[in-house]
Amino acid sequence: MLFGFEWDLSSPLAFAISIMPILLTGMLVTIQAAVLGFAVALVLGLVWAVLKSAPIRLIAWPATVITEFIRDTPLLVQLFFLYYVLPEYGIILPAFMTGALALGIQYSAYTAEVYRAGLQAVPADQHEAARALNLSTARTFTHIVVPQAIPRIVPAMGNYLVSIMKDVPVLSVVTVLEMLNVAKIVGDRTFDYLIPLSLVGGLYLIMTLVASAGVRLLDDWLPKQGIPLK
């Protein structure tokens, strides 16, 4: 029994059906962790992108090194680091929060690049035209550059959300009860790993296919010329 749901070992099919509610409970945690991690990645990535493009080299250079370091080290090790080292400095977070933070930090190095590429893809003419029209830097950004960058940034971010979803099972090592961990526990208790783990694979396939289709729809729906922010 797990989460109050009893499993039925009378036949493989009955077993599969009886553990579905358990796996779906785990799936909910997977989605929550992915969304929270994604939110952290969006915010932190923007911070990195701003710091990296700072005109002062003393700011830009360390930011580049840090993001490179984050990008080139495994999520699992970063997660261990956060989970075991932070408490030594008095920062005690629940496992779920630590996991979402680790996901967010890892992916912030990637989202920073998306922001940078999206903003750079806006032609220089646009900046020049805004300048010729005597728009302030702030207005140039909020009314000219960002609206045109959004259609380029959003689909790429959507793809990273799908990637984050696929990395959530790593959080199982710090006892987060996401879908894979739940399936593993069911397997440990019933000595049947084949059905729970195969179901998790199938559910993952459905989740990523749905999410990818969502990203494609979003991409089609976004106006290619940009979104006015008014």
Binding site: D72, G201, T208
Partner: protein
């Protein structure tokens, strides 16, 4: 124990990580070419298998694949009366290689599709067979296009090897965990671990840059 005492066991683990990375990257590269070409093949059976492979391994999580190969596959084998128990090394290399191969296959497909249509027409005009066109005209031009993405995937693969520590394979992360359980010195060990992975990733990047230069050596100008 001081931090210098951690170095020998960590290096032992690092060697396992290096081997895993090497084997799974080579396996992944082979799979990438087979199924990347397969996805563009006119043969529908080959194409269907390629699409199914790519979707299956890109659509599910690497850790799920690893656990499935290590925990679930032996049971599937038992049901069929075959012994499919894989040693951890084999399960690790297979899962990593199959996973990265699916991502690589999309890169191969993209690069082959990006070769200009004129090249196909010129090859046809010169009476090249489809096979000759593929191997002597299209692929040599597509490889330089693939190399930057392959470089990223190789680093990705190195990072992913850390997951094999979860099926009790004695890689770098596994060794670090062992030392931590013994000494409780989390900060030092995990800092060293992060630095070692970073150093290895830099080496992989340098190697892949070298391969990229080698693959595009005949290119005179960017077209």
């Amino acid at each position: 124990m001081t931090w210098t005492d951690y170095i020998p066991p960590l290096l032992e683990g690092a060697w396992v990580t290096v081997q895993l990375t090497l084997y799974s990257t080579v396996l992944g590269a082979v799979l990438a070419f087979v199924f990347g070409i397969g996805k563009l093949s006119p043969n529908w059976a080959f194409k269907a298998v390629s699409v199914a492979y790519i979707e299956l391994f890109r659509g599910t999580s690497l850790l799920v694949q690893l656990f499935w190969l290590y925990f679930a596959l032996p049971m599937a084998g038992m049901a069929m009366g075959i012994d499919l128990r894989l040693p951890p090394v084999l399960a690790g290399v297979l899962a990593l290689g199959l996973n990265i191969g699916a991502y690589g296959a999309e890169v191969v497909r993209g690069a082959i599709a990006a070769v200009h249509q004129d090249q196909h027409e010129a090859a046809r005009a010169l009476n090249f067979s489809p096979r000759q066109t593929l191997w002597t005209i299209v692929i040599p031009q597509a490889i330089p296009e693939m190399m930057p993405s392959f470089g990223n995937l190789a680093v990705q693969n190195l990072k992913d090897t850390a997951l094999v520590s979860l099926i009790s394979l004695g890689d770098l992360t596994f060794r670090a965990e062992q030392i931590r359980n013994f000494t409780q010195d989390s900060t030092t060990i995990y800092s060293m671990l992060l630095v070692m992975y970073f150093a290895m990733a830099l080496v992989v990047t340098v190697i892949m840059r070298g391969l990229e230069r080698y693959a595009s050596r005949w290119r005179t100008a960017r077209s």
